[in-house]
């Protein structure tokens, strides 16, 4: 009989799985899956920022398209990630390897970036903006020297939400055949190996929490404007 109960036993088995170096090497090993997950997250975050931020900054500067920028993140929440991944897999994009994963990741990272950057731009004190106009600043100068620096905390908050979203979406991508740490979990289910499923889940959870922590630390270390 197992004195610790089945839960403790599974955790011990999951720990054994994690500490077995054979599980870390090779194409299906942890190191390879971790690299895939990291590369997918970073590449898609950069692509999403390049798409969303210019649009949000220009719309915010002009004060147009607010309803679109705010509602798009509500719509994004109602659409299941898994469904989008599978739909993309069945379209011609599905033939390009990681294509469906990249497109789906970008689609789900753009709304929080767009909404937060737009709201940040609109929350900049209108008096400050009018003062900068009165000082003779051009639209471009106002955007880069006044509005963007003041909106930066909200813009970075959007980047943080997008990054966490990307890690989660990249995990679900494994269900639709994409790479990344989620593959350790799906492979565990296919092998009916609960220790591997739990070990993979722990890796994913730690990875997601680390990403969140990196942004938390970056926010604390960032120079506070107006503190002088």
């Amino acid at each position: 009989m197992d004195p610790g109960g089945p839960g403790v036993n599974t955790l011990a088995d999951a720990w054994d799985w994690l500490t077995d170096s054979a599980n870390w090497a090779g194409d299906a090993g942890v190191w390879h899956r971790l690299t895939q997950h990291l590369v997918l997250t970073v590449v898609c975050l950069v692509i999403s920022c390049l798409i969303a931020l210019p649009v949000a900054l220009v719309l915010g500067h002009l004060g147009k398209g607010g309803a679109l920028a705010v509602n798009i993140s509500n719509v994004g929440r109602a659409i299941p990630t898994f469904a989008v991944l599978v739909l993309l897999l069945l379209t011609p994009i599905g033939k390009w390897g990681e294509g469906p994963t990249v497109v789906a990741l970008v689609l789900f990272a753009v709304p929080p970036l767009l909404t937060n950057a737009y709201v940040g731009m609109r929350e900049v004190d209108r008096d400050v903006v009018r003062a900068s106009r009165g000082m003779g600043m051009t639209g471009r100068q106002m955007l880069w020297q006044v509005e963007v620096p003041l909106a930066m905390p909200m813009i970075l908050n959007g980047v943080r939400i997008a990054a966490v979203q990307l890690v989660a979406t990249a995990t679900i991508a494994a269900l639709a055949g994409g790479g990344g740490l989620g593959r350790i979990i799906t492979a565990g289910f296919n092998l009916a190996s609960t220790p591997q499923v739990v070990a993979g889940a722990v890796l994913v959870a730690v990875f997601a929490l680390l990403v969140e922590a990196v942004f938390e630390v970056a926010e604390r270390l960032a120079p506070k404007r107006g503190a002088r």
């Binding site: 109602a78 299941p80 898994f82 469904a83 269900l175 289910f189 739990v198 889940a201 994913v204 997601a208």
Partner: protein, 226 residues
């Protein structure tokens, strides 16, 4: 020998009326399972979130840890959350419900706590001055005033639960997610598209219903605006 049927099912088209009529029972079963998973999760989440938020409001020191815990839970991706619950629940609908409860709980606690904190201090003092005890103050003043924020949280939690329930397909209890999963393995386009559209429809209808409920139970917000 009869020729194979040349309908949209045989041609594997995305939009297929034939699919809707021949697989109606499968679709209805999946929608039913999806609704059950979502409804149970959100209701259990709500039942746990209200006392947690009230306690976090009452004892200031509890608010920090409660909010930190909800942030941690919310950061864990859904597939990992379901997998972490596997040793406790096995391959069951309870596993999916438990995972969705944790996400709903997170969203609800944050919103209800924000709503309770937004109750003006003068309002509280006025109620106390009128002789309200702590329980009556909570039930008849603070909670009603927190309703708009709580309902906003409930709508987000419900829509998220509808969408996340599809991931439950990994353990075979994903409602419409099961159809998407099996459709993926057989490249059955009509099944994947139909299930996806139904899923979004459920989310939108649930959101509108909750908006209607909010309209009905907070008449004073309309009176103030008029």
């Amino acid at each position: 020998m009869t020729a194979p049927p040349d309908d949209c099912l045989a041609r594997n088209e995305w939009i297929c009326g034939e699919y809707l009529s021949t697989r109606r029972d499968i679709l209805l079963d999946a929608v039913g399972q999806h609704l059950q998973l979502t409804a149970f999760s959100v209701l259990i989440g709500l039942a746990l979130a209200v006392p947690l938020a009230v306690l976090a409001r009452r004892w200031g020191w509890a608010a920090g840890p409660v909010l930190a815990l909800t942030t941690v839970l919310y950061t864990i991706p859904s597939l990992a959350m379901f997998s972490l619950l596997l040793p406790a629940y096995g391959l069951s609908a309870a596993l999916v419900v438990a995972g969705l409860v944790l996400y709903s709980l997170t969203l609800l606690v944050r919103n209800i706590l924000a709503g309770l904190r937004a109750v003006p201090e003068e309002t509280r003092q006025a109620a106390r001055g009128m002789g309200y005890g702590p329980i009556r103050l909570l039930l008849t003043v603070e909670l009603p005033l927190a309703l708009p924020a709580a309902m906003a949280g409930l709508r987000i939690a419900t829509v998220s639960a509808v969408s996340l329930a599809t991931v439950g397909a990994i353990v075979g209890f994903g409602g419409l997610g099961n159809l998407i999963y099996s459709g993926m393995n057989t490249f059955f386009k009509a099944q994947v598209l139909t299930a996806s559209v139904l899923c979004v429809l459920i989310a939108v209808v649930a959101d509108l219903l909750l908006l209607g409920v909010q309209w009905l139970i907070t008449p004073w917000t309309r009176a103030a605006r008029a």
